[in-house]
Symmetry: C2
Subunit: 342 residues, 2 copies
């Protein structure tokens, strides 16, 4: 047990106080045989195959929000980046930057949440580091996670692989995370009704790949910062195609739509932390949809559009067919920034 | 080229501004075929063998200091953590947290420095992420790096492997980094005379392992935060041994000693960012020393002490034999913290 109720600069010194923080708070919660060796590097054995490697920092404000917190989010975010590449997540690293004066209770809750999220995703926390900066030099807690996963030799997904005729499938309601965080910040009374969708997608992605032939799934992407619109633009851009999506097919919760109308936002640009977008061969699309629906996290999945040959010379674009029969171009996020959404 | 002279919140939105920052500033400097694919995860091929995996965040203040900056330091720190385990560093991830308003020029310099340091160490930047927080919510720039390296099947170093009779060898002058940073902060006029020792130790470590039989080198450690004293205590603790070091054998630059006297510090507790401590079988110690001296970074290496059987029941301890023939116990760092030293 730790005596201190708050984080002190001393906890980042690398000396005895750091050791006590690690042993008294972290190892009890996130310890495992790899991490607890406390070497400069973890040494791990990997099954044969190619490796996926990714990193992400989390600076979300507020730290706790309906449906999650910075701890679970930092595990889900990196697990999902591995899963989108078709990799099985194996090892996670954890880099914490703490502000002097941070409540020890808060840190304990975040560590518990990291531990639960890692167990649920089946990823082992192999390496960790803690730094402390002075009061006012960071905002409470920032977390970096990096992840390693293995890829089967037949999996070869790529953002440039969408082809005209392919279907675009999304694994469920979009915009929940972004709407939840914005509401939590706004102080509006109906905050609790929208939960973040933060979740680990590795099991869902595994189902999708198991249900299809190797090259039928062209790519998977999680529409986090910048939302669905930004991811679709990245795909169109890299694949040199247009993408047409149907407004009436895109799953948006009525309450998210309501918040968007209230705050003047578009759900297509809101962050998601537990959804994936899959581009698949049109004949394989029903199998992808079915695989998603068999997973709890994909029960509201839908085919939302199609990849098209590019129609004009000004470059690839994403077009939305609206419910009333019009069409509008959906560019990458360029408007008002939504800072610290993840 | 980027139009903006400062980092805006928009650069962290995940949309078009983020894309322009990445393409216009980072990829030109640190881009390579792996990173430039811009997937959610990098996909890399690894030679067969076990894997070392490590993470470290860097929050050093000031960002630029004699002998380096936060960019080179963030590469060296993680390369060295891999090297200490006997691993060959292969892939690095980079997680940046930027404060709104940060000078774009400063960021360009840091990116250039990261690029140079990675090339020198022979490590490929495989994954990267950038977040922006509001003004006053972080102090300019924080960097997390995680690293992957491969280990030969015969290398098995461990902090618990020191045995009585083993020699303790350090690769050069201690305390340079800590003294340099403290001086740079103090505003004292002789700042420029002490340079940080920040450097990649992977080539040095490779020489050491090549010059010895597999089990002769028990462990390697880089004495960063907490300094030599803290690392020796960790070794004594994990190996259940005492360690005796000779003050007259420990390489300390006269100017570092001078700064320590001026500021009331002990060089044994100052951070190093380009030194390693090796514990080796006594018969192999001369070969370790020779291998260090053959490397530019180890030319001032010295055998500084010996591992001993523990003499009392109160647990292992580190003892310093002073120049005047006395002895004192050297505990882990417990005194005044030196915040943001790395």
């Amino acid at each position: 047990m730790l005596r201190e109720k708050r984080i002190l600069l001393d906890h980042g010194s690398g000396g005895l106080a750091t050791k006590k923080l690690i042993e008294g708070l972290f190892l009890r919660r996130i310890g495992n045989p790899v991490l607890s060796r406390m070497e400069d590097s973890a040494v791990v054995d990997l099954p044969p195959g190619r490796l996926a490697f990714t990193t992400d920092s989390f600076v979300i404000d507020p730290i706790f929000f309906p449906g999650g917190d910075i701890g679970s989010l930092s595990v889900h975010g990196t697990v999902n980046d591995l899963a989108m590449q078709g990799a099985s997540p194996l090892f996670l690293s954890l880099g914490l930057i703490l502000e002097e004066g941070l409540d020890m209770d808060l840190l304990e809750k975040v560590a518990d949440s990291i531990s639960r999220a890692a167990k649920e995703a089946g990823i082992v926390i192999a390496a960790a580091d803690t730094k402390v900066v002075g009061k006012g030099q960071a905002d409470k807690i920032f977390i970096n996670t990096s992840g390693i996963g293995t890829l089967s030799s037949v999996t070869s997904l790529g953002v440039e692989k969408a082809r005209p005729g392919d279907k675009v499938i999304v694994s469920g309601f979009i915009g929940d995370h972004g709407a939840c965080v914005l509401l939590a910040r706004s102080g509006l009374p109906f905050e609790a009704r929208i939960k973040s969708d933060s979740a680990p997608l590795n099991h869902l992605c595994k189902r999708i790949l198991a249900a299809t032939r190797p090259s039928d799934v062209r790519l998977m992407r999680d529409p986090t910062r910048g939302g669905l619109a930004t991811v679709l633009n990245e795909i169109a851009d890299a694949s040199k195609t247009d993408i047409e999506i149907l407004e009436e097919s895109i799953p948006v919760r009525p309450e998210v739509q309501g918040v968007c109308e209230l705050l003047g936002l578009d759900p297509l640009y809101l962050a998601n932390e537990g959804k994936c977008v899959v581009v698949a061969d049109q004949e394989a699309a029903p199998a992808v949809l079915e695989a998603m629906k068999q997973d709890g996290l994909g029960k509201d999945a839908a085919i939302i559009g199609e990849v098209k040959a590019p129609v004009d010379q000004q470059g690839p674009k994403v077009v939305l067919r609206t419910k009333i029969g019009g069409e509008r171009i959906v560019p990458m996020l360029t408007g008002e920034p939504l800072p610290r959404i993840c």
